[in-house]
Symmetry: C2
Subunit: 498 residues, 2 copies
């Protein structure tokens, strides 16, 4: 699966150094060895310098090295990490009507997931979703599959074949709240566990060192799981150190449902919050990905931090299903590690760049709608009320996520969410080359786009005077898969636009 | 400028019949005469039928008719109407940092607009924005230009040359609140008026029958205009019946500024609201386009309805600048006519389809953030509070704009906003052929996209089982300019994808 060749990348490189700080390396060189690992990063280094200085240091011979150049204005960027995506739901992107979470599951989602036990359909859909996400620069995805073992295993096979890094989870759900959805669930907690084991075994054979694909325990969400199933998965996680993915606090009706289904007396939880249910089952771990977390209480946030669990922020989905505005700044403030998820097909787009754009946009609405503040509002005097308003306005401004920040969430943040922060998400010696080559459009003097086809830069029009940070902003707000020219995972070229 | 040929369009046609109702005409025929006017629409009519039945009725001879076919799965759709776009700001799309309205104007907008008094730059930017919006299916745009007469006139010239229907407004602004922006304003109210007249005269010579381009009076917004200037423009509107475009109630700081600048005693307004200032100046007319209207009071809404003024809803801009969530349902409920605006470059995208998508998305957040309700909340008993919560949830659901509704706003709604509802926005005999041909992608059994290039359908993947309403949803949520294959204005082909 590795690149099997030494590669020298030359040009501009952009990646996150910190949450609020992109680093720009221009005229730089990055050497990637046969295993796909970055072995050298050198500023102010052209090809001649690289050959003269880097190659001897690395023991490389010029003839065995493939050179890849970013053209003027292009740049290498770390591959995107989609921390929450339901692969089988891809055919439904954009289809959700005016539904909210619980009726959306019943109307649109379960029928489609169920239909993917047909191997031909599973192959078609999974092939498409992998190809589509790679074309959008997603080099790593945390996939929910379905309850079907064979097609879940096929998804893992197809990821390996296409060269996409992935966490693949067979979905565990032995409870269906509604009798008319009973066709789609695990028969018992035991059979759910057995199927989970079967899928884990398959992936361990497929990719023994988990170099590309690894299994992830996937209790769908509390209302779809019995306590014995959740408890058993918690135990399995502890015994195997496997990661976990599930949903948390997406929608108010869902939260009310969890409260009614799991009174603390039955779970042994310390309170009746949603997060406490997972905690009581041993499912809140440093390797747990919690999708959404829109309506967390301050106590739940503290619990998530204490357990070191991570959050997948899915703004496209939260707007589409009317779930609400997640307070990402409020989560980050407390030290919650956050990444971005497309949440296909609650989310309408398979693009992490679209998720980044929406993350920036909805963060601008958190403050203005009063979402930035926590807790209850007490009645104040007119003067004090004015002061509070001013304070709240400032606090509202602080909720905004910048271009640098959403790109951090899409790369470094996501890497930490999926537990791969030492391997991917940035350009560092010792990390692996999961990257995309980004090209923008250049508007000529006559108003045409230079370089032949008018479509070369998609909707990103650079007029020439823009600073690099401004180019990044243009990319985030108007970019699409047309700007992602090439994509590599572990040094291997896995997508190229014609 | 007309098509100068008779045309027969065959295939599927989709357009709005009512706010919440798209109509689908399959296997239909539409005849468009040399002037670009629709002269026949026939259901269940193939080419042979058209020749046999329609042509004799119209007195058409087969040899003079050009036939345009939508391929299987493609459909004709009315051209989009962008009811609010600042042409000179196009190079800044996506660039706004973490700013809000008033500092954004100062930092990003005025310097760029000012720089477009350079004719070469104006030609480059205006050529690009017309080409770009046409490629996104915008057949009609209400453009703000700059204060510069020559380049405003150039914008009108370029619209005529490119065949885009447009309302073009020279911006009137004789006040700059900030001394460091004083480089960019009209010297006096008189000079502003003289420049406006010069621009109107140019357009009347350019297109005497206003078949494509017409002038529009454009007081930037109240804080940038003196009372004499606003009053003179109100008088001019009354004398000439010319349309008006301006901004209203976009941002809370802006509203406070208007209150402080224009106390009712100075304007003769009935109260100190933003809308009342315009009304006192004679600027609220049935031909007035009010951009934003995010924070209107109930009284202002009633005033807008009473005057018959129209609203341009600009969701991309309102999210990007953190202005707030406009309550479109609340406006529609009262009978306010609404269309969509991209508001480039407060809005980050030149695409009306993107504005439609964001209109749907933010409408889903109006309810959940409490924006659906009007007025103050009184304290209630626990039981009454629960009832109210239920009521509010229902009311929140009702705020959602459906796919059909946002497409109505993008076409019929927009047509009414710009005063062209008898000419464009739908497919009716007697209306003009402003249309786009839309194509979606078809996923093959192996997961590839059929028909050669993988990029043919952009990001809209149709698997084959989708109903037509579901295809429309997929287009709204994932479509882009790649799906807009051809664009006509007044029967003339003005854009075609290679």
């Amino acid at each position: 699966m590795a690149a099997a060749k030494k590669q020298l990348f030359l040009g501009s490189f952009v990646h996150s150094k910190a949450l609020d700080k992109l680093e720009f390396l221009h005229g730089a060189a990055v050497c990637v060895d046969q295993s796909g690992t970055i072995v050298a990063i050198e500023r102010d280094c052209d090809e001649a310098n690289a050959i003269e200085v880097l190659f001897p240091r690395l023991g490389w011979v010029k003839a065995e090295v493939v050179v890849v150049r970013a053209r003027e204005g292009q740049f290498f960027f770390p591959g995107f990490i989609d921390t929450h995506i339901h692969a089988p739901q891809y055919p439904n992107v954009g289809i959700f009507g005016n539904s909210t979470l619980l009726d959306w599951l019943k109307t649109y989602t379960f029928p489609l997931e169920h239909s993917l036990s047909d191997p031909a359909k599973a192959r078609q859909v999974y092939t498409r979703v992998i190809r589509k996400t790679l074309s959008h620069g997603t080099t790593c995805a945390a996939y929910f599959a379905t309850i079907d073992v064979a097609s879940t295993n096929l998804l893992a096979d197809l990821c390996v074949a296409a060269g996409q890094r992935a966490l693949v989870g067979r979905v565990c759900m032995d409870v269906q709240g509604s009798p008319d959805c009973d066709y789609y669930r695990d028969a018992t907690a035991e059979s759910a566990l057995a199927s989970t084991h079967a899928s884990i075994a398959h992936m361990r054979t497929l990719d023994p060192t988990m170099s590309l694909v690894r299994p992830i325990l996937t209790p769908r969400f509390a209302p779809a799981c019995s306590l014995p199933l959740m408890r058993a998965l918690g135990t399995l996680a502890r015994e195997t150190n496997l990661p976990i993915q599930t949903h948390l606090s997406e929608n108010k009706a869902e939260i009310a449902l969890v409260k009614s289904l799991f009174p603390p007396a039955t779970t042994g939880a310390t309170d009746d919050s949603y997060a406490a249910v997972y905690d009581a089952m041993g499912l809140l771990t440093p390797r747990t990905i919690l999708a959404h977390a829109v309506h967390l209480t301050a106590a739940e946030r503290a619990l998530v931090v204490a357990r070191g669990a991570k959050v997948s922020h899915c703004p496209c989905s939260n707007s589409a299903l009317g779930s609400g505005l997640a307070r990402v700044r409020w989560l980050l403030d407390a030290g919650v590690v956050c990444g971005l998820g497309t949440d296909v097909s609650g989310g309408y787009s398979a693009s992490v760049l679209e998720a980044a754009r929406q993350a920036a946009l909805v963060s601008r609405l958190v403050g203005v709608t009063g979402g930035g503040k926590g807790g209850e509002r007490e009645k104040l005097s007119v003067e004090k009320e004015k002061e509070r308003e001013k304070e709240e306005e400032k606090e509202g401004e602080r909720q905004k996520l910048s271009v640098d920040e959403v790109l951090f969430l899409a790369t470094r943040g996501g890497a930490e969410v999926v537990g791969l922060e030492d391997k991917v998400g940035g350009f560092e010696v010792g990390m692996e080359w999961d990257a995309q080559l980004i090209g923008l459009g250049t508007v000529g003097e006559g108003g045409e786009v230079e370089g032949g086809e008018d479509d070369e830069g998609g909707n990103v029009d650079v007029f020439g005077w823009e600073s690099w940070p401004e180019r990044m902003a243009k990319w985030v707000y108007n970019g699409d898969d047309r700007n992602t020219k090439k994509v590599w995972v572990k040094g291997r070229l896995v997508h190229e636009r014609k």
